[in-house]
Every structure is written in structure tokens, then in C-alpha cells.
């Protein structure tokens, strides 16, 4: 496994490139934004002005309007900041897309506490939990530009609602695009005595912890999850069945996060011990940088090493 931290294209830039690429071949693709990302999306807007809508600052109506477009066969892509798109307009998502069985794509920025200095109004770290209550919905967390491009191709025209979380930072781990298949976790490192499972940018923390853990005598197996839903369980069960221990790492609240899904996946398996690195059940109240928040929450290589030691003792 090669790690190449920091060379990936910004994921929002990839989103815009992907819209242009797919928009050229699919004239039913319609991009709707809530007054953000004008700069990166300007190539799409200039190429397809009739299919680009800066709808305005009215997320509830924007979602219902997108569902109306979907009912005519368009493939709407609705894009704005996560809490406004998902939390404010949740009932519209639930009823106008999911209940009515209409397909569409919601692409959020402002993953978890990416907008760290903007405070709780602009944070969104309960989205997996909310979205998991919806039927007919996929939850995709692309941790790199190439992942978004591949996942969007695979999901955008299916008959479901696809919700994409775009983080501000890539995990920086090179993954062969041919290994990226919606719903399929990826084995990043073969190991034998503990399973580390990450989603989104937190793959960097897990991969970054490997050398120290090996130095301490561990042989960690690293799994990566880009599809919160659907999520195939075979690889996860095989790994945890082998190691008997796992740690999940995610920029989401612990309650309802993907760690809960892994617990459910393993609940019929005997003698499993586990730990979670996630956001506790409180608001992230402090200001400061994204990295400072990661440090506080233990979402760093050192944090992963500490969590392993606290939970499982020294090797």
C-alpha cells in the first residue's frame, strides 16, 4: 500500500469536474446549488446554463423542486452546505424523494466540523444517523477526489437517492480506482490481531498509526469504508472474526455513526471487543482549526494508538 498524503485534487473541485464530464454525456443531469460553489462550477454553468440553477437560499423548496424535476426523468444534483441541505430540509428529503421513490443526488460540503470556526450552525455530524432512517437512500463518503468521481459514476443514475458527503480534506491514501465499488469496504492493509476501520479522511489517522502499532507488537488489519449505506459485511466479518478486536474511527457522532453499524454486523460473533473514536454526544463548541478539533477528539495517528492501548492494553 502506497501512501501519498496531500497530492490529491480538492474534492469539491473534483465534484465540479465530474459534473461537467457527466453533464456532457447525460443531458438529464441538472445541477442546483444553494448559492455556493459558483467558482468551481463555472465551467458547468458556462457549458450548460439551462441546466445550472443557483436556486437561492431556500433549501426546503429546493429539495421538493428537485424531486419534481426527478419525477420528469431529470437527474438532479443538489448541492449546498450539509446542515442546511440535510437537517433543515430533512422532511422534504424523506417525503419528496424517499417516500415517493424518486431518484436524485444530494452533494454536501461542510462535512462534520470542516467549517470549524463557523460554529455549530455550520457543523453537521449527525447526518449518517439521520439518513440511515430513510429507505431508498445511499450514503457515500468519498475520502478522495478519485473516489468521488468513481462513486458518482456508479450511483448517480440508479433509482435511489444518493447522498454524498464531501470532506474538505482527502485521506491522502492512494487507492486503485478499480477497487472502488459502491457498498464494498476495501482492505488497505492485511493484518492478524486487530482490525482498524475508518471512513472518510480518518483513513489517514488509521494508516498513520500503523507503524507505531507495529513497533508496539501489533499487526493491524486496516479496512476502509466509503459507503456507509449500502455496506457489504463479508470483508468486515471475516476480518473481525480473525482478529477478535476492532476500532472504528469516524468524523460523526458516536450515536448512529458507522461504528454502530459495525457493532450490529458483529453482534452474533462471540468474544469480540471494540472501541470507537467518534464525536461524543455533545456539540463541538470550540473554535480553532480543523486539525485542532481532530487533536481534541483523538482523531489522529497518536489518538488511534492511544485508543488501542486504553482499550486492549499493551501488546
Amino acid at each position: 500500500m502506497t501512501t501519498v498524503i496531500g497530492i490529491d485534487k480538492p474534492i469539491r473541485e473534483q465534484f465540479a469536474d465530474t459534473m461537467l464530464r457527466v453533464g456532457k454525456r447525460d443531458e438529464e443531469l441538472v445541477v442546483m446549488v444553494g448559492d455556493i460553489s459558483h467558482g468551481v462550477l463555472s465551467p458547468f454553468r458556462e457549458e450548460f446554463p439551462e441546466r445550472y440553477f443557483n436556486v437561492g437560499i431556500l433549501e426546503s423548496a429546493m429539495i421538493s423542486m428537485a424531486a419534481g424535476l426527478s419525477s420528469l426523468g431529470f437527474r438532479p444534483v443538489v448541492h449546498t452546505i450539509a446542515p442546511f441541505l440535510l437537517e433543515r430540509a430533512f422532511e422534504q428529503i424523506k417525503l419528496d424523494f424517499c417516500y415517493q421513490g424518486l431518484p436524485g443526488n444530494l452533494v454536501t460540503v461542510g462535512s462534520a466540523f470542516d467549517y470549524s470556526n463557523l460554529g455549530s450552525t455550520h457543523h453537521c455530524y449527525g447526518d449518517f444517523a439521520m439518513l440511515k432512517t430513510l429507505q431508498n437512500t445511499d450514503i457515500l463518503f468519498a475520502g478522495s477526489a478519485s473516489e468521488f468521481d468513481v462513486l458518482f459514476d456508479q450511483a448517480y443514475s440508479n433509482h435511489r437517492l444518493s447522498v454524498y458527503r464531501l470532506p474538505s480534506r482527502s485521506h491522502g491514501v492512494e487507492i486503485d480506482p478499480r477497487d472502488i465499488r459502491i457498498g464494498e469496504p476495501i482492505k488497505i492493509r492485511e493484518g492478524s490481531d486487530i482490525t482498524l476501520i475508518a471512513t472518510g479522511p480518518q483513513l489517514a489517522s488509521v494508516v498513520g498509526a500503523v507503524d507505531q502499532l507495529v513497533a508496539e507488537g501489533w499487526d493491524p488489519e486496516v479496512l476502509y469504508v466509503h459507503s456507509i449505506r449500502p455496506m457489504a459485511t463479508k470483508l468486515i466479518r471475516e476480518s473481525i472474526g480473525k482478529t477478535g478486536k476492532f476500532v472504528t474511527v469516524e468524523e460523526h457522532m458516536e450515536a448512529g455513526g458507522f461504528g454502530d453499524d459495525i457493532l450490529r454486523v458483529t453482534r452474533d460473533m462471540p468474544n469480540i471487543t471494540s472501541a470507537s473514536i467518534a464525536i461524543p454526544g455533545t456539540f463541538v463548541l470550540d473554535y480553532g482549526t480543523y486539525d485542532e478539533h481532530l487533536e481534541t477528539l483523538g482523531m489522529t495517528p497518536d489518538g488511534v494508538v492511544r485508543k488501542v492501548a486504553e482499550t486492549f492494553g499493551q501488546r
Binding site: 441538472v30 439551462e50 441546466r51 440553477f53 436556486v55 437561492g56 431556500l58 426546503s60 423548496a61 429546493m62 429539495i63 421538493s64 423542486m65 428537485a66 424531486a67 419534481g68 424535476l69 426527478s70 419525477s71 420528469l72 431529470f74 422532511e91 422534504q92 417525503l95 419528496d96 417516500y99 415517493q100 421513490g101
Partner: protein, 262 residues
């Protein structure tokens, strides 16, 4: 206001549905049945044999709780059968107390939670323009529903996108005014950029001429038809904003209502 009993047959069917199904909103349905009946008899281009006919006009009942009126009209036009009606609010049936687009032929949007059908209609209006199609969209809102913020978000969108293919009909039966008395709906819709007119929502002639004219709208503005209506129209026993909103008639009340409507 022109008094009328021209849709008494439909009203009797509404009462039968609610009485046998033991659920439903009779006064809300009586308030809008003349509007829906006029649309389906005289205005909308639809094909009951092919509910998804691409050239059809769209009708969306944004105030979904009035759906027994829609069901009776859809049955009269041949979208639904007597067997369908007999399953209203029955396990396994297709007709519930709110309309469902995945169950009911001719229903374009699943509504019930207020403030959803109108923005959904705006999406259809924009989509039809994108496809250069001449289909029209009619959306029926309650005046209480006009308390919802999404209604005015959508009005903003419809006017700014020059949706001349869209007509909003507001069932102005003063339900909203019971809660928020400052309720100058015509002025609000005008100020949002709609071609706005106020008519008698129980007058066949006014409804027909206004809704047909909206179909031929040659401005670049959407239309708002503010229809003055009476909740429970046609049966004094249940008219107004009292306990009948969601009440099921007893056997004696059923007989009284049917006598008035016969």
C-alpha cells in the same frame, strides 16, 4: 356568491366514502370539490386510459387532506373504479387519507404534509420548460397551508423562473385566518409576482372561465387564483370551522347530510 348544488352528486359520494371508510375530511373536500371537478371536466388535458400520457396536464393537490374530493373526481373521470373507492381507508386498498402517487392512478405527487406539493409543482414547471413542453400544471393549496414558509419560497421561485405554465389555486375558506387573522392573500400573491385574481370557488362559470384563461396565460408570470370558498359548502350542518373538520357522521347525521344533498 353564486349558490350552487351542481356537484351534489360528488358531495354525496364524498360523504359515502367517509361514512363507509370511517375516516376523512368532509368539510375540506366540500370546500374544493367544485374546483377539482371543473379542472377535470373542463380544463385539464388528461387521459384516464393512460395516466402517464406525456402530453398530459398536471394536477397536484398540495392540501392532500382534501383527497376524498380528488378520489371522487378521479373515479368520475375513469381513473379509479368503484372497487377502488370501496377500499378507501381499508387495509390493502390504494386510497388512504392522503393521496399517494405510487398507488393511485392520476395522482402526480404524494402529499399530506403541507407545503410540499407546491414546490414539487415548481420543479415540474421548470422541468417542462427545460423540455420545451407545453403541458400545464395546476396546484391546489389551502389557505392555512399558506402559513408554511416553503409556500413562499416556492412562490419566489415560480415568479423568478417565469413559470407561466403554472397556476396556483388557493382554497380561501378562511381556515388560515382562524389562526393568523392578517390574511390578505391576494395582495401577498400579487406582491410575489403572480397574475392574481379572486373568484367564487363554488361557481362553475367563474371557475371554468378563470381556469381556462389561466391555461392560455400569455404573460411571463405564473397565475394565482384565489378561490373564495366555504368549508363544508353545501350542507349547513357541517359548514364552517367547527368540530366537523375530521368528524365522521353518525347514522342520523349521515341521513341528514344526504337529505340536504339529494
Amino acid at each position: 356568491m353564486q349558490s350552487t348544488d351542481w356537484n351534489n352528486k360528488l358531495r354525496r359520494r364524498i360523504v359515502d366514502l367517509v361514512y363507509t371508510g370511517q375516516d376523512g375530511h368532509i368539510p375540506s373536500a366540500f370546500s374544493i370539490v367544485d374546483i377539482i371537478s371543473t379542472l377535470y371536466r373542463n380544463v385539464l388535458r388528461v387521459d384516464p386510459a393512460n395516466p402517464e400520457w406525456p402530453e398530459r396536464d398536471y394536477f397536484i393537490l398540495s392540501k392532500g387532506h382534501g383527497c376524498v374530493a380528488l378520489y371522487t373526481v378521479l373515479a368520475e373521470r375513469g381513473f379509479l373504479t368503484e372497487d377502488d373507492l370501496s377500499t378507501f381507508c381499508r387495509k390493502g386498498g390504494i386510497l388512504g387519507e392522503h393521496p399517494d402517487r405510487n398507488k393511485v392512478p392520476g395522482v402526480e405527487a404524494s402529499t399530506g404534509s403541507l407545503g410540499h406539493g407546491f414546490p414539487f409543482s415548481v420543479g415540474i414547471g421548470i422541468g417542462l420548460k427545460l423540455k420545451n413542453r407545453s403541458n400545464k400544471i395546476y396546484t391546489l393549496l389551502g389557505d392555512g397551508e399558506c402559513h408554511e414558509g416553503s409556500v413562499w419560497e416556492s412562490a419566489h421561485l415560480a415568479a423568478n423562473h417565469e413559470l407561466s405554465n403554472l397556476t396556483v389555486v388557493v382554497d380561501w375558506n378562511q381556515s388560515g385566518q382562524q389562526l393568523l387573522p392578517l390574511d390578505n392573500l391576494p395582495e401577498k400573491w400579487r406582491s410575489f409576482g403572480f397574475e392574481t385574481m379572486v373568484i367564487d370557488g363554488h361557481s362553475e362559470s367563474e371557475l371554468k372561465s378563470t381556469l381556462e384563461a389561466a391555461r392560455l396565460n400569455e404573460t411571463n408570470r405564473p397565475t394565482a387564483v384565489i378561490a373564495r370558498t366555504t368549508k363544508g359548502k353545501g350542507v349547513p350542518l357541517i359548514e364552517g370551522h367547527g368540530p366537523w373538520h375530521h368528524k365522521i357522521p353518525s347514522e342520523d347525521e349521515y341521513k341528514q347530510i344526504m337529505k340536504v344533498l339529494s
